[in-house]
Amino acid sequence: MTNEPWASTPVLRVVGGSSVKDTKDPKESKDASEAAIEAAEAALLHAKKVGERLRAELGAVIFGQDDVITGVVVALLAGGHVLLEGAPGLGKTQIVRTLSKLVGGSFSRIQFTPDLMPSDIVGTSLVVTTASGGKDLAYRPGPIFANLILADEINRATPKTQSALLEAMAERTVSVEGQPRDLPSPFFVLATENPIEMEGVFPLPEAQLDRFLMKLIVKMPDLETLTRIGARAEEPKPPSAVTFPDELLQVQAAVRSLPSALHVQRYAAKLTLATHTEKGVRYGAGPRAAQALMSCARARAVLDGRAAVAIDDVKAVAGDVLRHRLGLRFEAEALGLDADKIILQAIAHTKVE
């Protein structure tokens, strides 16, 4: 991978967001600029290819969930975490497992249950016998120390355990016995939850839901898709990795470097504010939502091969980014409104400058 053009020095500088002006000679400066632009274009193209490969491979395994697959890839490129919500058997776990194969790196699956303790996630110190025959405490990392985490049925764990995971998601570090420990990078959590079973579950608090970049709804596939699924005689072969953690980090850096025009940024901000004024909304999205909107819009623009974020990108990701950040009143339920409908109304009411 190191021989890829985007991985050369100028590219790394460009994706870092700095301009190339460090040479005195104009000709040399111009050449450097042109090189930086070419590198930026190459990085953009490469990121697009990585994203397309991920989508294609996921799509080959998971039928009829293109929007969810795109959302997962967008969140992965944007460097955020995803909450997958759907009925059992719709392929949520399969998506994550397939993605772990595609991305490479380490993968952990944590099955959340009511008796799951925080130490079961972040790890704990055990008494071990030293070489000299003495006793000592040795830290054993938990399953959180992986590049890709599947937090299955996260709403079955107690809030105490949930908060341990969510803290790790936000800080990308865990503190064990007062000592902070960095999580591996990239760090990507995909949590699933079952909206049907309400017995013995602990719904995630709104403040913790905000930690997820996106909440994707896994819907029941249509007839054609179900036919294809049924026709598949055997489990698909596990795909081979199409990328690796370092490359993914560089792609994420390229995504973060993608510029956005002021009117696009203002649109995202206005849309965020608009969620507060819609009918039936108890509380709207916060500043983190505006950040998430722009992050996901950037990733989507990169997936489309564009050098700038478009308002359409913001609109396209608004549903997935905002739906878990809105609190609705009973009035909304009486009116037959849900978060998705309110977001559509907010999009309709938000004008472009």
């Binding site: 510029p259 564009r306 050098a307």
Partner: protein, 590 residues
């Protein structure tokens, strides 16, 4: 970081500006297309308002209503359409909106929009420059006209038909004119046309009579036959009468009956004022003459003096002046005779002052007032014993009296022509009334009874007006009106009258009972235009010889006639007949 040649640096901005201009035009046309019915509505509202916004003048041809309605409709349409286009243009997109419109037209996602934003904001990061280059590549070779075609303004057939019907209806409403409608429903009758032609002829005659009014022998006679005095007094009313008569005739020929009646009313009012001018002057001169030379019992008194009063006034002044200069008269003059002369001068001055009014038409002193001043100064000089100065003042007063006489003569000459014209105007008025009554009275019996009978006549002009009319239907009205005319003095002089009976329709629909005249009575009645007083004098029509005192009493009749003629209640059209009658019974000098 440079992203290309200087010409390319603002390429996106230039393209966006061009597209923005184009889109403003598109927006203007789009709004006009969407709200075009507003413009049509304005046209449809303005056109019917034509009679109020832009009424036709009396002399305007009737088709002008349609033209004006069309103009108003066009103006309304153009104003609203222009406003729509302007508003639409103002509602055109912003520069960023235009850039995003380019994206939409080229099926791009914010490539040009972001590129334009980055170009405006600056920045030299690699991705920013990359975005700008992509925007430049996108707008290169952009055909603005093809990418943003102007919306067509051609309406559909259905819309066109609806608009045509609406505008046509509006134009018809706007072209409507009561005169046009009445002229179409009831065109001018032959009688009206003939009467209008007669009125025109009479007006021409009056105009011709006005031209040589000024005496060319007078030293101050200027061009155009108008004297300096005339110029000083300003334009007289007779030319206005001519103009009004012509307008009334024109209105009658157009079928504008209401307008014609209005003008005839105005003409009659003005004509009466003009016609009384001669009488006023005549009376004034007579009063002055009477004051200077009081009538004595015997010859040249009363009616004889009334025949030539002004000459007497001027002559009396000159004779008195001559006496002032005469040494014999001065020597023989007693104190009593001087006081008498002073008293006469003062009284004459007083009469002249009354006759002269306050001021002339242009604020100048009138001749009467000047004469009064001269007489007053003469009296003052005489009281001081300065007979020469008194004589000089009397000469000046005589000159003013001459001037008043000339004025009276001119007014008299005009009065004849005015009377003639007013008579014609009366005929036209009757013709119009007949046309209107005929239209109203078709199929309806007439109402109202004859008002009475004029039973006059004296001496060698026996006769009395008589009429008998029964308002029946339509055409019988003419006969009924003839009865009415006869009853008020326009009857056939040679006819033998009988008591009027029957009924006539009139404009006021007032029912009146027939009056049998068996003795002298005064019967107030209405003839349609106001109160009338008709006096029937028992016995005067039986051919008896005039009483002995008739010659003495007639001057008072003369004055009564003049006063009566000055009364506005007597229609101007009838005044000629009244004057003619009293001229006919004027006593002749033996």
């Amino acid at each position: 970081m440079s992203d290309g040649p200087v010409s390319e640096q603002q390429a996106v901005t230039k393209a966006v500006t061009s597209v923005r201009t184009r889109l403003a035009r598109v927006a203007g046309r789009a709004l006009l297309r969407r709200r075009g019915w507003w413009a049509l509505g304005a046209a449809a509202i303005l056109a019917p308002l034509r009679p109020f916004l832009w009424p036709l003048r009396d002399e305007a041809p009737l088709y002008l209503g349609l033209v004006r309605a069309g103009i108003l409709a066009g103006v309304g349409f153009a104003c609203v359409a222009s406003a729509l286009v302007l508003v639409g243009r103002r509602r055109g997109p912003s520069a960023l909106g235009a850039a995003r419109a380019i994206d939409d037209a080229l099926d791009l996602r914010e490539v040009v929009g972001s590129g334009f934003a980055f170009e405006s904001a600056g920045g030299d990061e690699a991705f920013v420059v990359l975005a700008r280059r992509r925007a430049i590549a996108a707008v290169k070779g952009l055909d603005v006209d093809a990418a943003f075609p102007l919306p067509s303004l051609a309406p559909t057939r259905k819309r066109l038909a609806q608009a045509s019907i609406g505008v046509a209806a509006a134009l018809i409403l706007g072209a409507y004119d009561p005169v046009l409608a009445s002229a179409l429903i009831a065109p001018p009758t032959e009688d009206e046309r003939a009467a209008a032609a007669d009125l025109d002829t009479a007006a021409q005659a009056l105009a011709a009579a006005l031209a040589p009014t000024a005496d060319p022998k007078r030293p101050d006679a200027p061009r155009g036959g108008q004297t300096k005095d005339d110029e000083r007094k300003g334009p007289r009313g007779a030319p206005r009468l001519v103009e009004k008569a012509r307008e009334a005739a024109k209105a009658a020929r157009r079928g504008d009956r209401q307008g014609a009646l209005g003008k005839l009313d105005s003409l009659r009012t003005d004509g009466q004022k003009q016609a009384t001018r001669a009488a006023d002057l005549k009376a004034a001169l007579r009063q002055i003459a009477d004051a200077l030379d009081p009538p004595k019992s015997g010859a040249r008194s009363g009616a004889a003096r009334a025949l030539d009063p002004s000459a007497k006034a001027a002559d009396s002044m000159r004779l008195l002046a001559k006496k002032m200069r005469s040494a014999e008269e001065a020597a023989s003059e007693t104190k009593e005779s001087q006081e008498r002369t002073l008293e006469r001068l003062n009284r004459a001055g007083e009469e002249a002052r009354k006759a002269g009014g306050e001021k002339g038409e242009n604020g100048e002193k009138s001749d009467g007032k000047s004469a009064a001043e001269s007489l007053s100064r003469a009296a003052e000089a005489l009281s001081k014993g300065d007979r020469e100065a008194a004589a000089k003042m009397l000469d000046q007063a005589a000159e003013r009296a001459d001037s008043l006489e000339r004025e009276r003569a001119e007014a008299s000459a005009e009065a004849e022509a005015i009377a003639e014209m007013l008579e014609k105007s009366g005929i036209l008025e009757e013709a119009i009334e007949m046309a209107m009554l005929g239209r109203e009275g078709q199929g309806k019996p007439g109402e109202g009874l004859a008002m009475g009978e004029g039973n006059g006549g004296e001496g060698d002009k026996p006769g009395k007006g008589s009429g008998k009319g029964a308002g029946k239907k339509g055409l019988d009205l003419r006969r009924a009106l003839a009865s009415r005319l006869a009853a008020i003095g326009f009857g056939d002089e040679s006819g033998t009258g009988t008591d009027g009976e029957g009924s006539i329709p009139d404009r006021h629909r007032t029912k009146r009972e027939a009056l049998e005249v068996k003795s002298s009575v005064r019967a107030p009645s209405e003839v349609g235009e106001g109160e009338r007083a008709i006096q029937a004098i028992q016995g005067l029509g039986k051919g008896s010889e005039p009483q002995a005192g008739y010659r003495e009493v007639f001057p008072s009749y003369d004055a009564a006639v003049e006063e009566g003629l000055a009364d506005e209640r007597i229609p101007a059209a009838r005044r000629a007949a009244v004057r003619k009658y009293f001229q006919s019974i004027r006593p002749v000098d033996p």
